[in-house]
Amino acid sequence: MNQRVRPFNPRGRVALVSVLLGLAGCALVVRAVDLQVVSKDFYQEQGDARYLRDIAIPVSRGTIFDRNGEPLAVSTPVESIWVNPSELLAHAADRIPELADAAGLDATSLREKLEERSRREFYFIKRHLNPDAAQAILDLGIPGVASQREFKRYYPSGEVMAHVLGYTNIDDQGQEGVELAFDGWLSGKSGIKRVIRDLRGQQVENVDLIAEAQPGRDLTLSIDRRIQYLAYRELKAALAEHRASSGSMVILDVPSGEILAMVNQPSFNPNARTAIDPAYRRNRAVTDVVEPGSTMKAFTISAALESGKWTPHTPIDTNPGTYSLYGHTISDVHNKGLIDVTGVITYSSNVGAAKIAATLPSERMYDLFHRFGFGELTGCGFPGESSGYLPIAKDWGPVEQATIAYGYGLNVTPLQLAQGYAALANDGELHAPTFVKGTRNPSRAVVDPAIAASLRGMLETVIVPPGGGVRAAVKNYRVAGKTGTSRTAVGGGYQKKYISLFAGMVPASAPRMVGVVVIHDPQGVFYGALVAAPVFGKVMDGALRLLDVPPDNVQSWYAAAELPAKTAAMPAANYEEEVPE
């Protein structure tokens, strides 16, 4: 029996087992630390990604109102259908024709597009559907098809307001006009919320609000929709009557510089998202320049009065109706002979204006024009605004100075011209024009109030016979204004195309509104007095009534004491003077 039995050593075994168990325990701890501490973020993220989703909360763009609170641009929700191409192709490829049919698309091209994007997870197949149509597509229950709320902009005033408002693109971002200029104000910030979703993509629970949604803010413009419509209607009618190619009209509120109306022709429908000829989209009243022609004489005469060398009644000889200056001949339509400074405005004498300008230092004339805002951006903030062109004084030779005196050789936008006339109307205080109601732009004095007042008196003579602007007259109101006609400048020369202008203010005794009408390329008659002035008169007739401006030139007065008993008994009796109470 030499069976050898290894001696049993319980201690060794216990030690071995202990070590093994200890190692296993360590391994578990290490693994646990790895999972819970070292790689926690990774695993947490992976876990969350399987059921948490961050979802954008769409916000609507602010509404744009006119000065009386009428909506001009409103965002309303629409549904856009999108698909997850990989899911749709994997699970319901056979239902593509059904989907295409419901969405009004071509099945073959839809399939091609989906296959091109088969690795992607998001593809819009149809945008901006009304909610009912979108629901009909969703009701088909095709996997991988979902809808997303978006907003579409509507412009109830259509082409009447198109140029001022501009428009947005399909993603509701401002592209032109006020929509672009105030994009940051109008567009909100979409929020983000975190939700728990189940297997079928249904939201089970809202977990967290990551970023609060900030809806877009509303904007109240200074535009009056009713006056805007009047201006649009009359301008359109005038363009049709004179077969003119384009035109603009601007109306400013004199005490504040607010833009009450700004219309252009041709226009476009901002609600139809079709390709529009860029020429139709331009807000010509702000982006396009014209040579102002005789409308500029108001500022030349302002400079003359400011120099102290001239008064409204200083005589000036315009015989023989032409004036030669260094081989350049300036001529009047009719020879008016000996007239005074007021007559230069009344009869729109180029010779008179040129002769007066010849006595003024060019720096002083430039300085006055510049103070009235010519050659500078108005600061209205409209995208693409043109600053016009006013050559600096040291580039003015005698001929340049003479031509600038009657409105050639410089460029202005219709808005700049309105701004300048508004300063004359506002006793020499110039307000930068604005599109936003209640902006209260500070004014600056550009000319002595007495000079502005005498200019208004001279401009009034234009509207009454024998002045040239009688067609701009408004019944019951006194009107002051100036007509203008200029040739279109193209490539350095002057074509046989004309621009008819009128700039004026009503009521002349205490101006409330300034209006500028510019009509390009009228056929047949082309004088500002015949083409542009009537538009001014018709629009202001309605605008004065809309704004409740009291008439300052009425023939018929009734005293309050005589009402109501005698009213019926005395129809339309003319009281020449005011009846005291």
């Binding site: 009428e70 909506p71 409103v74 309303t76 929700p77 109830p156 209607r233 019951n476 009846v579």
Partner: protein, 89 residues
């Protein structure tokens, strides 16, 4: 001994109580959150409805349409200057 048991028991009860309170608070928070979402959605729907109605009103109140109805349908005219009188008080 009894004092120790009482402390233990009260701690146990407090633990259970706070656990139930947590459950309750969680439930409340879910309910409130659901309500908040419902109200936010309702607000959005009302805002949207308001915008739609504003749009509709603006479309009906279109100056061109009103002018057509006033002139053609109702035979209204703009009073001529000779028809207007001014009353001074």
């Amino acid at each position: 001994m009894i004092a120790r048991a009482a402390v233990l028991l009260s701690l146990l009860l407090a633990t259970i109580g706070s656990a139930l309170a947590v459950v309750n608070a969680r439930q409340q928070s879910r309910l409130e959150f659901t309500e908040l979402n419902r109200l936010a959605n309702e607000r959005d729907e009302l805002d949207i409805e308001f915008g739609r109605l504003q749009l509709e009103q603006a479309t009906w109140a279109d100056n061109n349409r009103i002018e057509q109805i006033a002139r053609a349908g109702l035979g209204l005219v703009t009073p001529a200057a000779s028809d207007s009188v001014v009353i001074r008080r």
